[in-house]
C-alpha cells in the first residue's frame, strides 16, 4: 500500500523512525592507530584523515513502543519525537524556523555493529552505553543529515508508506543518565545559528598610514584570506572607497558615495562591502544564502525561483548602496521578505527552500477544507495589535555609512494610503515605518506598492486559524492555499463563509491520527487582471490554470467583478 492509501485506511498502524548519517571512513584502515588507540572508522578516531575518503554511515532508530517491524532494522530507543515546525510569516519575515527534537533512551550495547573491528580486539561490554560511545567516537555532528520518517507499518516494512522529512543535526546531548536528545533543524535555522553575516567580517588591516590623496594602500599579509574579493567597495573608518586588489595591494578611489576622504593609520581595519547592481531579488537572496550563510546550492531550486520572480517580482531588480558593515544574513532576508512581499520556507520533504511572492493563487490549486475533514473546531484568533493602517517608507539612503535606523539617513519618504482607521472602523491610525536599505532613488513605484500591500493586508491585524485534520488530509503542507469552509466562520446572514487561507504551520499529532494546522488569511489586496487570447472562449472559473496565467481577465481582488460577475475576458 502507498502512503496515501494508508492515510485512507481504517486499519493503519502508525510508526515513526529516524535515520542519522554520521561521518565514516570509507577507505581500508587498520584497527589500531599508530599510537595504539583503537580506530572506529570515524574521523575523530582515525589517523591521517586528510588522506582518506570520508563518507557516511546511517543509523536507524524507532519508537520503543512501536509494533515490531522486522525488516526495518531499527533500534527501538526513541521515547519521543517533538516537532516545532516552521511557522511562515507571510510578507513579514522568514518567521520561526522548523525544528525537531528526538528523545532517545540509552542502553547497553555489545559494540558488534558499531565497532568495525569487533573481532580484532577485546571488549568490556560493561563500559559505556550505546550513545555515550557513539558520541565519543563522533564528537562533530552539527550539520550532518537527520531524516524523520512518519508513516504506517503495514504488514511489512515498505518505504513508500512513509513521509520523509529532512533536517540537519544541530546538536546531540545527554539530558539525563539514560536519555539523549538529538535536535534537527532546517538549513535556514542552521544559517541563523551560525550567525552568518554579509558582507563577511574581514581581517584586512592597513600596513602603513595612508594620507588624504593616497590611491594605494598596502594590507598586512596575514589579514588576507584566499577567497577574499579582488575588487569592489570597501570601508576604511567612515570612508567608502572603490578598490581593485592584487595580492596585498589595493588601488583605491577615495571618498565614494558622498563619504569624505580622510587619512588613515597603520593598523586600521578595512571592511570589503557587499554590493548588488540591478540584481533580481531572488538572485540577491540566493547570494546571501549560498555565498554568505553556507546554504547548499542544491537546496535552492533557482529555476522555480526565477519563474516565480519573472512572473510576479519583475519590478524588484534592486541596486541598493553597498552594505559596508557585516549584518546578519537572516536580518537582510527578513527585510527583503517584508519590503518585496514574498516569503521563503524550507520544504522538509522536497529538501528545497521555496520562494513565493504574495500573489493570487490559481483556483485549481486551492484545496477545499470543510467540516467533513475537520476533527476539531476552527479557532479563529485575531491579533489586532499587529494592525497596520498606513506605511511610511523611508528609502534612498544618503550614504552607505548612514545609520540604518534613523529617518534622517534617507532622502525619500513615501506615506502610503490609509486603511481601516476610519471612525467606524478601528478609529485610530497604526503607522508602520519601514527604513529600506534596498530601495534607491528610482524605486518610488515599488515603495508605493510595498506601502499599499502591507497596509491593505494588515488593516485588521493578523488572524490565525487553528484546526485539526484527520490523517486523510495530512498531505496538506506549508505554503498550501486552502478554502476553509466551516460553521465556525459565519457571514452576516448566518451562512457559512469561505475563508481563503495559507497554511503557515503543520504539527503532526503523536498518535499519527491527525495533524494540527495553523493558517492565515491569504489576501492579495492589489487588483489584478488576466488577459486571454482572442480565440479564448471559456469563462474564467472553467479555465485551466495553464490558460489562466497567460490569459487576461479583468477582476477585483477576490477574483470577481465589483457586481459579483466572473472576471471579464479581454479580447
Amino acid at each position: 500500500m502507498t502512503l496515501s492509501g494508508e492515510r485512507e485506511s481504517f486499519t493503519a498502524k502508525p510508526l515513526s523512525f529516524i535515520e542519522v548519517d554520521l561521518d565514516w571512513v570509507d577507505d581500508t584502515v587498520p584497527a589500531f592507530n599508530g599510537d595504539g588507540t583503537p580506530c572506529y572508522k570515524t574521523p575523530a578516531t582515525t589517523d591521517n584523515i586528510d588522506a582518506l575518503t570520508i563518507g557516511t554511515r546511517t543509523r536507524r532508530y524507532c519508537d520503543t513502543t512501536a509494533a515490531q517491524v522486522w525488516d526495518l532494522d531499527a533500534i527501538p530507543c526513541i521515547d519521543g519525537i517533538r516537532y516545532q515546525t516552521t511557522q511562515l510569516k507571510v510578507g513579514e519575515s522568514l518567521g520561526s524556523f522548523g525544528q525537531v527534537t528526538i528523545t532517545l533512551r540509552d542502553f547497553v550495547d555489545d559494540d558488534r555493529l558499531e565497532d568495525p573491528f569487533y573481532s580484532q580486539r577485546t571488549h568490556d561490554t560493561a563500559a559505556g552505553t550505546y550513545f555515550t560511545k557513539l558520541h565519543a567516537r563522533n564528537p562533530y555532528i552539527q550539520g550532518r543529515a537527520l531524516r524523520v520518517f512518519a508513516g504506517f507499518a503495514g504488514e511489512e516494512y515498505n518505504n513508500a508508506n512513509f513521509e520523509e522529512r529532512h533536517y540537519l543535526i544541530r546538536s546531540i546531548k545527554r539530558t539525563n543518565k539514560s536519555s539523549w536528545q538529538i535536535i534537527g533543524v532546517s538549513p535556514l535555522q542552521l544559517a541563523n545559528l551560525r550567525g552568518a553575516k554579509a558582507p563577511k567580517p574581514s581581517g584586512w588591516t592597513l600596513k602603513y598610514n595612508i594620507g588624504l590623496g593616497s590611491t594605494t594602500a598596502e594590507l598586512v599579509d596575514y589579514s588576507i584570506a584566499d577567497d577574499d574579493p579582488t575588487s569592489g567597495y570597501c570601508l576604511i573608518s567612515d570612508e567608502v572607497c572603490s578598490y581593485t586588489r592584487v595580492n596585498n595591494v589595493l588601488n583605491i578611489a577615495r571618498g565614494q558615495f558622498a563619504t569624505t576622504p580622510d587619512s588613515h593609520d597603520a593598523g586600521d581595519g578595512i571592511q570589503p562591502a557587499l554590493q548588488f547592481i540591478n540584481t533580481p531579488v531572488q538572485e540577491i537572496i540566493r547570494t546571501l544564502l549560498v555565498d554568505y550563510a553556507g546554504v547548499s546550492p542544491a537546496l535552492i531550486p533557482i529555476f522555480d525561483w526565477n519563474n516565480e520572480s519573472n512572473k510576479w517580482l519583475q519590478l524588484y531588480s534592486l541596486s541598493p548602496l553597498p552594505i559596508t558593515e557585516p549584518v546578519d544574513v537572516i536580518e537582510l532576508i527578513n527585510e527583503i521578505c517584508e519590503q518585496v512581499g514574498l516569503f521563503l520556507w524550507y520544504d522538509e520533504i522536497a529538501q528545497i527552500i521555496r520562494l513565493q511572492a504574495i500573489r493570487p493563487v490559481p483556483t485549481s490549486s486551492i484545496q477545499l477544507v470543510t467540516d467533513d475533514d475537520l476533527v476539531s473546531e476552527v479557532a479563529i484568533n485575531p491579533d489586532v495589535s499587529a494592525r497596520v493602517s498606513r506605511v511610511a517608507m523611508l528609502y534612498d539612503k544618503r550614504t552607505p555609512i548612514a545609520d540604518d535606523g534613523k529617518d534622517a539617513s534617507y532622502r525619500k519618504r513615501l506615506i502610503g494610503r490609509n486603511f481601516g482607521d476610519g471612525t467606524y472602523e478601528h478609529g485610530s491610525e497604526s503607522l508602520k515605518v519601514i527604513h529600506s536599505r534596498w530601495f534607491g532613488t528610482n524605486d518610488d513605484a515599488v515603495s508605493g506598492r510595498t506601502a499599499f500591500t502591507i497596509a491593505s493586508t494588515l488593516r485588521d491585524g493578523r488572524t490565525l486559524y487553528t484546526f485539526t485534520l484527520n490523517k486523510r488530509r495530512a498531505d496538506l503542507d506549508l505554503g498550501n492555499v486552502i478554502s476553509l469552509r466551516t460553521r465556525d466562520a459565519i457571514d452576516t446572514t448566518g451562512q457559512m463563509k469561505t475563508l481563503p487561507a495559507i497554511i503557515v504551520k503543520r504539527t503532526p499529532a503523536k498518535d499519527g491520527l491527525s495533524v494540527e494546522y495553523i493558517a492565515e488569511p491569504f489576501i492579495y489586496a492589489a487588483r489584478f487582471i488576466y488577459v486571454l487570447p482572442n480565440d479564448h472562449t471559456t469563462t474564467y472559473p472553467n479555465t485551466p490554470e495553464a490558460t489562466q496565467d497567460p490569459g487576461w481577465f479583468l477582476a477585483s481582488s477576490d477574483g470577481t467583478m465589483p457586481n459579483g460577475d466572473a472576471p471579464y475576458v479581454l479580447g
Binding site: 493503519a12 498502524k13 532494522d73 558488534r112 476533527v375 484527520n470 486523510r472
Partner: protein, 251 residues
C-alpha cells in the same frame, strides 16, 4: 501434582549465549550471534537463498531438552528448519525433526534430554529469512499448573482502534495501536525446594532478559519479555505461591 505432560515449561537458560557460533553465511549487519543476544531488533540473515546452518559448539557437554525460535518469516517463504546435534559420530535430528512453520509463529520444540557439545540449526528458505531469537537449552518444567485467570496468549492479543469522527459526523480513517498482552503467570503452592532451586535462578536471570513459555500442548507457545516478578508468599508451611507478569507475543 498435575500430569507432567501438561505442566508449563519455561525456556530461559540459553546455552547459545556461551557457545561459539558459526553460521554457513551471514549478512554484514545480520550476524548469527544476533539471533541469541536477547534483542529482537537485531537478527541473523544469510546472504543467499537455500539451505544454511547456524552451528554452536561448546568445550563441554550441554544438556538440551528443547529449542525455541521467535522473530522469523519462514512461513512466508515456505521455509523449514530443524535442530541437529552431534552424537559423537554423526549429526542426529533432535525431537520430531524438521518443522515447516505456517507463518511467523513462536516455536517451542521439546524432546528427551540429549547431551552434546555441538548442535546446528539447519534452515531452508528461499528467499532467505531472518531469525531474531533462538534458544537451545534445558528448560524449566514447572511443578504446578496454571491457575484460573490465565488465558491463551493467542486469544489475549488485542489491538486498540482509535476512531475519528469529523465535525459533520462522518467516520474518518482510524488507526490501530497494538496493545501487547501483558499477563500474569501464577503458580500456586509450589514446594520451597523447587522454588529455591528452580524458580529463583530463573527469576534472577530473567528480570532483564526475555524467555520462552510453553504452557499447554494444544496451545501456542509465546515469547515473553519485560517480566516483573511478583512477591513470593507462603501458601502453607513448606510451600509458596510464585509468579510474574510479562509481555507475551505469539507471532
Amino acid at each position: 501434582m498435575a500430569n507432567e505432560e501438561n505442566l508449563p515449561r519455561i525456556a530461559w537458560n540459553n546455552v547459545l549465549s556461551t557457545a561459539t557460533i558459526t553460521p554457513s553465511s551471514e549478512e554484514l549487519n545480520h550476524l548469527a550471534v544476533f539471533s541469541c543476544d536477547d534483542t529482537l531488533y537485531r537478527s541473523w540473515q544469510p546472504e543467499s537463498d537455500g539451505t544454511h546452518t547456524i552451528e554452536a559448539s561448546w568445550t563441554g557437554l550441554q544438556e538440551i531438552t528443547c529449542w525455541c525460535m521467535y522473530g522469523h518469516g519462514l512461513g512466508l517463504t515456505a521455509g523449514s528448519l530443524g535442530l541437529e546435534y552431534w552424537n559423537g559420530f554423526a549429526w542426529a535430528l533432535f525431537g520430531n525433526g524438521f518443522i515447516a512453520p505456517n507463518g511467523s509463529e513462536c516455536l517451542y520444540e521439546m524432546s528427551e534430554p540429549i547431551y552434546t557439545d555441538r548442535i546446528r540449526f539447519v534452515i531452508n528458505s528461499t528467499p532467505p529469512s531472518r531469525i531474531a531469537a533462538l534458544f537451545v537449552g534445558n528448560d524449566l518444567l514447572c511443578e504446578e499448573g496454571l491457575t484460573p485467570g490465565w488465558v491463551d496468549p493467542t486469544i489475549g492479543q488485542k489491538q486498540k482502534v482509535v476512531h475519528a469522527t469529523s465535525r459533520s459526523g462522518l467516520a474518518l480513517p482510524s488507526i490501530i495501536e497494538d496493545e501487547f498482552l501483558t499477563q500474569r503467570f501464577t503458580l500456586k503452592d509450589v514446594s520451597m525446594d523447587w522454588a529455591m532451586n528452580k524458580w529463583l535462578p530463573f527469576k534472577q536471570h530473567c528480570q532483564t532478559r526475555p524467555f520462552f513459555l510453553w504452557w499447554n500442548e494444544q496451545a501456542s507457545p509465546c515469547y515473553c519479555s519485560q517480566a516483573t516478578f511478583e512477591n513470593e508468599r507462603y501458601s502453607r508451611v513448606g510451600f509458596v505461591n510464585v509468579g510474574f507478569s510479562a509481555r507475551m507475543v505469539v507471532q
